[in-house]
């Protein structure tokens, strides 16, 4: 124990933030969130869900102009229509979800102990389709993003509270996601943590790096860059490609584990999807 504490202290002095391997998720969570509260003392805690807009006034103003009538509204409308259109067998998406799919999207991802895996919202949408004799949708954009946008919109404002069940497989998924977040990858040999923890708030050429706290809450997202909606895993893939690492497939076990860890770290914050970003 003493050795571990010393190592953490040294890392702390070096300004390197690390989550010790033996800590519990709850301990990780406190450390993670406190790091950002300390790093950005002028940001109200609940504002981290707005990413760089919580730390940069000029871009916030542009974002607020966009939010006057955000382009993702087109997506929500499409998504609601898709959600309410019955499958060929007459059933609807509502039949696959709690509360008919309304106001529950913020509960994803969760660890399904009977299936032994992490279930994300998009995965659940496709599982619903397949269970009702429909072809699965592609996971990065298009209809899946629209349906996810609609479902997330009905959950807007709900508090994220991912609970890791007392199951070694769930803990393993969490640890796998955590490992992914901190692992160096790609030709540029960078980890998610390098940009979004150590360099959060700094510029990388012309872009401002968003803090990892509150980073997933606004997905799916309409990015001006994409000129359309995209899912979290689309962004994970894009980020991996940007450090010249081979991306994982959307909804692969690796990205689902990453999403599990990444979302858990935003416990206590409000779900605010879908979002608009540059």
């Amino acid at each position: 124990m003493k050795k571990l504490l010393t190592a953490t202290l040294v890392l702390g002095l070096l300004g390197i933030f690390a989550l010790p391997a033996q800590a519990t998720p709850q301990e990780d969570l406190e450390k993670f969130q406190n790091y950002f509260y300390k790093k950005f003392p002028n940001t109200p805690k609940d504002d981290f869900i707005n990413g760089v807009y919580s730390i940069d006034a000029d871009s916030r103003e542009q974002w607020e102009s966009i939010e006057e009538f955000p382009p993702y509204e087109l997506s929500i409308e499409k998504g609601e229509k898709l959600f309410n259109t019955p499958f060929k067998n007459g059933k609807t998406y509502a039949s696959c979800f709690e509360n008919d799919g309304i106001g529950i999207a913020h509960r994803y991802p969760f660890f399904d102990t009977s299936a032994g895996e992490v279930i994300t919202l998009e995965l659940a949408i496709n599982r619903c389709r397949e269970a009702n004799g429909e072809e699965p949708l592609k996971y990065e954009k298009g209809d899946i993003a629209d349906i996810s946008a609609h479902m997330k919109y009905t959950s807007r404002g709900n508090t994220i509270n991912i609970v890791i069940p007392d199951d070694p497989r769930a803990l393993a998924a969490y640890e796998r996601g955590k490992k992914n977040f901190y692992a160096k990858r790609g030709q540029m040999n960078m980890a998610c943590a390098d940009c979004h923890i150590h360099n959060a708030g700094n510029k990388i050429r012309a872009d401002l790096l968003s803090p990892a706290l509150g980073q997933v809450t606004h997905f799916p997202v309409y990015r001006s860059k994409w000129g359309g909606m995209g899912t979290l895993h689309r962004r994970y893939g894009g980020c991996n490609k940007q450090v010249r690492a081979k991306p994982y497939k959307a909804q692969s076990p690796e990205y689902r584990a990453l999403e599990y860890f990444h979302t858990y770290m935003s416990n206590g914050l409000a779900s605010n999807g879908p979002g608009a970003r540059k």
């Binding site: 006057e68 009538f69 955000p70 382009p71 509204e73 087109l74 409308e77 001006s224 000129g227």
Partner: protein, 102 residues
């Protein structure tokens, strides 16, 4: 239905906010897969009418952003009045939508 519109009246002034689903292609972008230029496809004109009057004629070029937004204000207009917004693009496509002033 490509137009989402909100019309609200306050102190004798009606504010219109519209969001239109449209690619607004400039004609200079290249298709990543084929390398071919994607043809220009953009809204050229947006017209808004209230009580038989044209309150706004917006002439657009391809430099208006994809999924374009437009907002403007006019005097008069009472809650319950109908406002009609229409657009025509360079390919001859069009759409129109009506909204009630709140």
């Amino acid at each position: 239905m490509s137009i989402k519109m909100r019309a609200a009246a306050q102190d004798g002034v009606t504010t219109i906010k519209a969001l239109i689903s449209h690619p607004m292609e400039t004609g200079t972008r290249k298709d990543k897969k084929t390398g071919e230029k994607i043809p220009a496809h953009f809204i050229q004109e947006v017209v808004c009418e209230h009580n038989g009057n044209t309150v706004m004629t917006a002439q657009w070029g391809p430099a208006i952003s994809k999924n374009p937004y437009l907002s403007f204000r006019f005097t008069g207009g009472n809650a319950g009045d109908t406002v009609k917004l229409s657009w025509v693009d360079n390919k001859g496509n069009s759409d129109s939508s009506e909204a009630s002033i709140n």
